[in-house]
Each structure stands twice: as C-alpha cells, then as structure tokens.
Amino acid sequence: MNSRLVNVRLDAERLRKAQTLRDRGVALSDVLREAIDERFAALRRSGSPPDVRTIVRRVFEQYPDPPDLPLRDYALHDRRAARRAIRRKLRPARA
C-alpha cells in the first residue's frame, strides 16, 4: 500500500480519549482514516456533484482505443459466460 505518515497533535483531553480507545483495542490510525473519509463524504454532499459525464468523456479522449481493438467475444453480463471466459484465459497458464 502506498501511504504516507501523518503526525497529529492532541491536547491532554484527546490524548486521554485516544489512550482509552487504544486500551480497548481500537487502532487510532483506523479512527483517523474513517474520520477523514466521513468528512470528505460530507464535503462532497454539501457541494455540487462532479460533472461525471465530462470526466468520462475526457478520460475516453485521453485514452482512446486503437481502431483495431477486437470486440469482447463473450457476454460480460452473463455471469456464466464471463466465468467461462476467465477460466479459458487461466487454462493455458496452468498447462
């Protein structure tokens, strides 16, 4: 996992709470990650949603398929067909 260490300063009261959480087996790093995710989600909810159509169009413009890219030869949305295709792909590697 590509991650970076972040130091957080805590006052005495929060230090006490953090110590209690740790004593109960709670990983403080998980607490911080979850708090960041929650605040980020709240931020997204409060602002206008991203223009996802523009994002997708830009990604397709940036990374176009080559003209000779073959079509998928199985039905992805048929779970049995998709599974057979994956098995077909794995078979030669195991032979």
Binding site: M1, A27, D30, R33, E34, D37, F40, A41, R44, R45, P49, P50, D51, V52, R53, I55, V56, R58, V59, F60, Q62, Y63, P64, D65, P66, L69, L71, R72, A75, L76, H77, R79, A82, R83, A85, I86, K89
Partner: protein, 139 residues
C-alpha cells in the same frame, strides 16, 4: 457510500459494452455519492479490460471519481468472513468478488452496492441474512 461491482465498472470503461450508456446514466444519478471498490472487483475488471487503453481508463476513472479502496485495512479476518459467506451458497457458485461485496455490505449499513448481477437482488444476502441495499434499480 456506493460500492461498485465489476459489471458497471467495466461498462463505464468500455464504450462498446452493452451497458455503457446505462452505467453512465447511473453514474450521473449517483454523482454526489462517495464511491468505493474492492480489490477482487478490480481483478475481475482487469480480466475483462485486457487492453492498455482500457486499463488506463480504468485507472483514470478510479482516480478522477475518487473511488476509495475497501476494506480500509488488510486483515485476515476479512478473508475468513468471505469464505464463510461463500460456504452459505454452495449451489449458486458465487465468485470471490460477490462474497467480498456481500461481506462489506454487512460491515457498513450505509453502504449500497451498484451491480447489474441479478443474484444480489434475488438470492444473496448480507452475512446476517438481511437484504443487500442496491444503489440502482434492476436493468
């Protein structure tokens, strides 16, 4: 939070997929939400998107849409929960990715699964037996 399954993710990345337009429409309707994906789904997506351009798009969309990796931490307990869930459905032969989605749904009550697989609506349940909340209607 919206947990994306393989089929909508692949459909978004492949304009020739039969559900590409549907997936785009669903993405628009869910745009205000936070998205997440698990490694098993990405593994499947890479099987179905073998070309370099397709994988570039997959990577770019994961980044641009801020799709978060779940579970947050790699713990062995998650694997055992997934195996336990798989063992509940021996006749239906669910995949590892299906089980991951069901288990993650059971861990977070706010989480909704975005999938086009019928079994999530008809057959599979969270580990505690409750219905897996869906992010979109059946297509």
């Amino acid at each position: 939070m919206i947990l994306i399954d393989t089929t909508p993710l692949v459909a978004l990345c492949d304009a020739r997929d039969s559900k590409h337009r549907t997936a785009l429409k669903h993405l628009e309707s869910l745009a205000a939400e936070q998205f997440a994906a698990c490694e098993a789904v990405l593994t499947e997506a890479c099987f179905h998107l073998p070309h370099r351009s397709q994988r570039h798009r997959l990577r770019a969309l994961l980044h641009e849409l801020g799709i978060q990796a779940l579970p947050l931490t790699h713990e062995g307990a998650f694997w055992w929960e997934v195996f336990d869930w798989l063992a509940q459905y021996p006749d239906h032969e669910p995949d590892w990715a299906d089980a991951c989605l069901a288990v993650l749904s059971g861990r977070d009550k706010e989480l909704k699964v975005w999938t086009y697989d019928r079994e999530f609506r008809t057959t599979w349940r969270r580990p505690n037996g409750t219905v897996i909340p869906m992010a979109v209607e059946s297509t």
